[in-house]
């Protein structure tokens, strides 16, 4: 038995990470994932006004900043409720928040498809095309973030969600503009991403019908399928979702059994050799993200793929891109039903609570994002941020390897393992905050 250790710098993952691979007899036995720098957002927040978190926390991450905003505002609203002052949002305010969040997820997933997965799989399989995938990515991502900015003012780094609702006061003119941008995004999805009308795509429930998917998504599925990658990248097959939202209800899935969860059983712990903390639920490791949402929500096509390929690279990749379709459809419905005559914000600015403790949870692009705030005398005394990538990229515990590490275990090359690693849509900055 021959053990070899190899260090590899992985880039273009919203920053970088260093992976230390241990090979045993030619197969990967363990991987240490090291993220370099702790930026200390939680410490920066201490002593600041409770609402400053709405401005500071989006700066955790350039690609999922909006999810941090919505989580931060939910943490404050939950704190008000815990202190006996429940805030009722109008359906308009909650629908607008859900819409802008959907836009950010679409932006993220599309950049991942075109700027990470397709270029990486082509270079891994040595079949590099001359295509400018980035121009496709940025066309759709900038179109959909325009729709977001109609309500939120800008992307990245908006702070338009405030306790009690949203700061915008849209008119029909704004909604029409947003609808038109969503329609443009749907057209792109239909003509370029899948080469299928959206409703036909969404009607696919069986693996056997996946051959209908064309376009760039079809090309990606074909590359995965024809290169024997459908079976690799399997992990613990255990999933968890905490956020209540358009994609899934909260719950956990173990061997396809779905049960309830409570965020109070989530615990963080420091890890040796990296500034990223690991997270467990009742001391067990779970995968979060689109695949987890698909499993918990029992999305037919995700379940069907899982039945055949388990939690392999194929199922994981599919679940993420599939969310784009679901989100586009949902975004269109939200705009069509927006009740413009309702209030945007129900909380009067003078009704500010000084003492509360609250938890905010959102399903962000990469999975459940949790913020916990403790406020005394109007100031933050403690702020805790648990990001999705902390779940997926931890080293694991005494009993088990971390989720992504387990997925890479048994792989025969660094190239294959790093491709598996990237299917988790790694975000370095979120992991280290």
């Amino acid at each position: 038995m021959k053990k070899i250790k190899i260090k590899q710098l992985i880039e273009k993952i919203e920053g970088e990470a260093e992976l230390d691979f241990t090979f045993n007899d030619g197969l990967i036995e363990d991987v240490k994932i090291n993220f370099g720098f702790y930026r200390g957002i939680e410490e920066i927040l201490r002593g600041k006004d409770a609402r400053d978190a709405l401005v500071i926390t989006p700066r955790v991450c350039g690609i999922c900043n909006h999810a941090h905003l919505i989580t931060a505002v939910r943490a404050i609203e939950n704190g008000y409720e815990n202190a006996g002052h429940k805030i009722e949002l109008t359906s308009k305010a909650s629908d607008i928040r859900e819409f802008t969040l959907a836009c950010e997820l679409i932006q993220n997933h599309i950049k991942w498809l075109y700027m990470t997965l397709l270029p990486q799989i082509e270079s891994y399989l040595d079949c590099k095309s001359e295509e400018n995938y980035a121009i496709k990515a940025t066309y759709l991502s900038s179109t959909i973030t325009k729709a977001l900015a109609i309500f939120a003012g800008q992307w990245p780094h908006s702070s338009y969600a405030v306790p009690g609702g949203v700061t915008c006061d849209p008119t029909h003119l704004d909604v029409m503009q947003a609808q038109s941008l969503v329609d443009e995004s749907i057209t792109f999805f239909e003509q370029v991403v899948t080469a299928l009308p959206l409703d036909e795509y969404l009607n696919i429930n069986l693996c056997a019908d996946l051959h209908k998917v064309g376009g760039d998504f079809g090309k990606l599925l074909h590359l995965i399928g024809s290169s024997g990658m459908t079976e690799i990248g399997k992990s613990h097959d255990r999933f968890i979702v905490f956020g209540e939202g358009m994609l899934s209800k909260p719950g956990k899935s173990i061997v396809t059994n779905i049960s309830n969860v409570n965020s109070k059983y989530v615990s963080e712990s420091a890890q040796v050799g990296t500034v990223a903390k690991s997270v467990t639920y009742k001391e067990r490791l779970y995968e979060v993200g689109p695949l987890a949402r698909g499993m918990v929500a029992k999305t037919p096509i995700v379940k069907n793929l899982h039945k055949r390929y388990k939690d392999s690279l194929l199922t994981r990749v599919f679940a993420r891109i599939h969310e784009v379709a679901t989100l586009l459809e949902h975004a269109r419905t939200l705009l069509n039903n927006l009740k413009l005559d309702e209030l945007s914000c129900t909380l009067e600015p003078q009704h500010t609570l000084k003492d509360f403790e609250g938890t905010g949870i959102v399903e962000a692009a990469r999975g459940s994002l949790i913020h916990k705030t403790i406020v005394k005398d109007g100031l933050i005394v403690n702020y805790e941020i648990i990001t999705p990538t902390q779940w997926n990229l931890s080293h694991g515990n005494k009993e088990e390897l971390g989720v992504a590490v387990q997925a890479m275990k048994g792989s025969k090359s660094i190239e294959e393992a790093t491709f598996i690693f990237r299917t988790f849509d790694v975000c370095s900055v979120c992991t280290t905050q």
Partner: protein, 299 residues
């Protein structure tokens, strides 16, 4: 054999950052025609000629260095190498340096974690750092959290066309930062007549008096060159948080600091006496249009 490119070689290097400026720039509608003026030797997301490992090895050519993120002398490493040494290495090679965003320019949010040791590259808040003397002649500052994609493209195209860029004492292009965020705000009438907004979520009223808006004294063209070509914070009722300013972020961002009921900080360049005089006159009139909802007035 591949023809050797004579385009300026662009290296985008990240220090302590959230990648917000990178993603902001990717929103530019003319991204690829702008980038066509350059050869991208390295970029944090876009496919580029050299890998991060090459950047770390110091072998990458560089004419234009774009810095993103706050700067620290020690403790921030990539591949075992201090990023500060990489910044210096490429700053020396480069003919132009752009500090993209408030972090790279002044220190920004991440400075607050360790104010003694974290700063911008050439400025620490408004103070010049040791690097200023060495590199100021090449430096263009583009503060903003994040910077606007079109501010970046203005600088890139000026460089590509070899045109000189007029800058102020903090090296910000005056064509971009000679304005305040207040310029072009759709709430300007309410500012003129000193009408406060009654709550969030209303298109009527100004956010300067109660809600903490820093637009009247924050430099930037957010309401002239709109965000995502669509809107801005103040247009959707969110106060300006002064994210282009050296001291960003200040505290209690949703509250206007006042002295005897008057905003403590005056609009840029306006003497307090002039402001008070005008306020007195404006407030002495009751104007029906401003006490009615905007779209109800003509009905």
């Amino acid at each position: 054999m591949k023809k050797k490119s004579n385009k300026p070689k662009l290296l985008w290097l990240q220090s302590i950052t959230c990648n917000g400026n990178t993603h902001s720039f990717l929103n530019h509608p003319d991204l690829f025609s702008i980038l066509a003026h350059f050869e991208i030797v390295h970029h944090p997301i876009l496919e580029s000629k050299y890998a991060m490992q090459d950047v770390i090895s110091g072998v990458v050519p560089c004419d234009l260095l774009i810095l993103e993120g706050s700067f620290t002398e020690t403790g921030f490493l990539k591949g075992g190498v201090e990023v500060s040494s990489l910044v210096e290495l490429y700053a020396k090679k480069a003919k132009n340096i752009i500090s993209a965003g408030t972090c790279a320019t002044f220190g920004g949010i991440f400075k607050q974690k360790d104010p003694e040791n974290i700063s911008g590259f050439c400025f620490d808040l408004e103070e010049k750092t040791n690097y200023y003397t060495k590199y100021a002649s090449k430096l263009i500052s583009l503060p903003g959290c994040p910077m606007h994609p079109k501010w970046m493209s203005y600088v890139l195209l000026m460089i590509a066309n070899q045109k000189p860029i007029d800058i102020d004492h903090l090296h910000r292009p005056v064509e971009l930062y000679g304005y305040t965020v207040h310029t072009g705000c759709t709430r300007n009438e309410y500012f003129e007549w000193k009408i406060d907004t009654k709550n969030y979520g209303l298109k009527e009223g100004c956010l300067f008096y109660e809600q903490g808006c820093q637009g009247p004294y924050t430099r930037g063209s957010c309401n002239k060159i709109l965000w995502n070509d669509i809107s801005s914070k103040t247009r959707v009722g969110t106060p300006c948080f002064g994210c282009t300013e050296p001291a960003f972020p200040q505290s209690s961002l949703f509250v206007t600091k006042t002295n005897m009921g008057i905003p403590a900080k005056m609009p840029l360049g306006i003497p307090r006496r002039a402001y008070l005089g005008l306020t007195g006159v404006a407030k002495s009139f009751k104007i029906k249009r401003f006490s009615t909802r905007l779209l109800e007035y003509d009905k």
